[in-house]
């Protein structure tokens, strides 16, 4: 039997890798998963992503594609079943817009809130909450960002479902509550119940330890300077 024609280089915890796994699962594409150690990058990773040296990297028939949203578009164009992006150009632009918003605005604002202390933490909370309100506003009335079925924007924003809950547990506060964010709360449930998504999230306990450790490390470096 020939070597698997599709390989995915990634890590067990990366939300960017997870979104690729979701897309491949939705399309019914079989692949080999190669776990990378980012503290000790493999020759394979350096060969397939020499520019950024990051995961995820998709390798298809020996050719590599890097950057998660680029990979998602490639997957959608290569395997036509269960399209992730809509057909209408304006809807496609919207899907890409919300994916970008998630990565470039919401994610950094959540992270900043997670690792900040004191006054900076208050500012960061305001910023993260504003971004949550924007997402809530975009969802209103819809089951998914893509409409009736899960799509590109949902896959890109799916990291919210488990990661925000993790951060909430560590910080001991509720950010996405049903009262303030009814649509987002419903979306989180719809997303995690979707076939193929349900049991795909990385092990919670392992994630909790990882993020707790990361947070402690950040606090340690800023201790005494706050």
């Amino acid at each position: 039997m020939a070597e698997a024609e599709v390989k995915l280089l990634g890590t067990w915890s990366s939300p960017f890798v997870l979104r690729i796994k979701w897309a491949l699962k939705l399309k019914g594409v079989e692949y080999d998963f190669i776990e990378e150690d980012l503290q000790n990058k493999s020759p394979l990773l350096l060969k397939y992503n020499p520019v950024h040296k990051k995961v995820p990297v998709l390798v298809h028939d020996g050719k590599s594609i890097a950057e998660s949203y680029v990979i998602l578009e490639y997957i959608d164009e290569t395997w036509k079943e269960n399209p992730i992006l809509p057909e209408d150009p304006y809807q496609r632009a919207m899907a890409r817009f919300w994916s970008k918003f998630g990565d470039e605005k919401f994610l950094p604002s959540m992270w900043k809130f997670f690792i900040s202390q004191g006054e900076k933490r208050e500012e960061a909370l305001v910023s993260a909450s504003e971004n949550l309100k924007i997402l809530e506003g975009e969802l209103k009335g819809k089951k998914f960002f893509n409409g009736e079925t899960l799509g590109f924007a949902d896959i890109s924003l799916g990291w919210i479902v488990d990661t925000v809950s993790l951060l909430e547990e560590i910080m001991e506060l509720k950010m996405i509550d049903e009262q303030r964010y009814p649509s987002l709360s419903a979306w989180m449930k719809n997303f995690s119940d979707f076939p193929g998504i349900k049991d795909s999230f990385p092990p919670q306990e392992r994630m909790l330890t990882k993020y707790r450790t990361l947070r402690e490390a950040y606090f340690a470096t800023t201790r005494g300077t706050n």
Partner: protein, 221 residues
């Protein structure tokens, strides 16, 4: 948005390389549009309505629908007007084009944001990063006529507006783009032979003048 019911409107700012990407793409496709210059220190109600999330230019309004983020706008233009395609048809080639356009934004634009705002060691680091990133782009160009190969394409549209900023990068960063990346300079000259590019880009000295004024305004120096 009655005025834009059927037509194409571009909300833009004269020197913005991101806006210029859209102008070039529209020109390549031969699309007629209304250009609206925005005052970024006094944003119009139309801009705030069209882009409530980021409140930034460029915004393309087509048949009343606003599209934001320059590379998303260029892809939209490419998908709606299918003549002179900017993205290739092969999925792998398309992925490579998207990757390098993203690289221009994630790396070169990011470097630039540091280069003009910081001094000393931080600026030295920004300069090194900028040169490294430009060299990577030059490596990707190789001996091709354009990043798109024989035809002017998506990465060319994404990157060429920044060529009007080379003089500013050089002056702020104290290096020579021609010396470090001669193929990039030659490529930029070739692109300027296209009307879509020459009519969209401004004189590099005008760009530098603008940055100097901006620095004064923001108290950076």
């Amino acid at each position: 948005m009655a005025t834009a019911a059927k037509g194409v409107v571009l909300l833009d700012f004269w020197v913005s390389p991101f806006g210029q990407r859209c102008r070039i793409a529209l020109a390549e496709k031969g699309v007629e549009y209304e250009y609206k210059e925005e005052n970024l220190w006094d944003k119009s109600p139309l801009l705030l309505k069209a882009n409530p999330v980021h409140k930034k230019i460029p915004v393309l309004i087509h048949e009343g629908n606003p599209i934001c983020e320059s590379l998303l706008i260029v892809q939209y233009i490419d998908e709606v007007w299918s003549n002179n395609p900017l993205l290739p048809s092969d999925p792998y080639e398309r992925a490579q084009a998207r990757f390098w356009a993203d690289f221009v934004d994630k790396k070169v634009s990011e470097c630039w944001t540091r280069l003009w705002k910081v001094k000393g060691e931080a600026q030295e680091e920004a300069r090194k990063d900028m040169i490294e990133d430009l060299k990577l782009l030059e490596g990707e160009l190789g001996d091709k006529q354009y990043f798109g190969g024989e035809t002017f394409g998506f990465v060319d549209v994404a990157f060429v507006p920044l060529s009007a900023w080379f003089y500013t990068f050089e002056t702020c960063g104290n290096f020579s783009v021609e010396k470090e990346c001669p193929k990039l300079v030659a490529w930029a000259k070739r692109c300027m032979e296209r009307e879509s590019v020459s009519k969209s880009l401004h004189d590099p000295h005008k760009v530098y003048e603008y940055v100097c004024q901006l620095k004064k305004k923001l108290g950076v120096d």
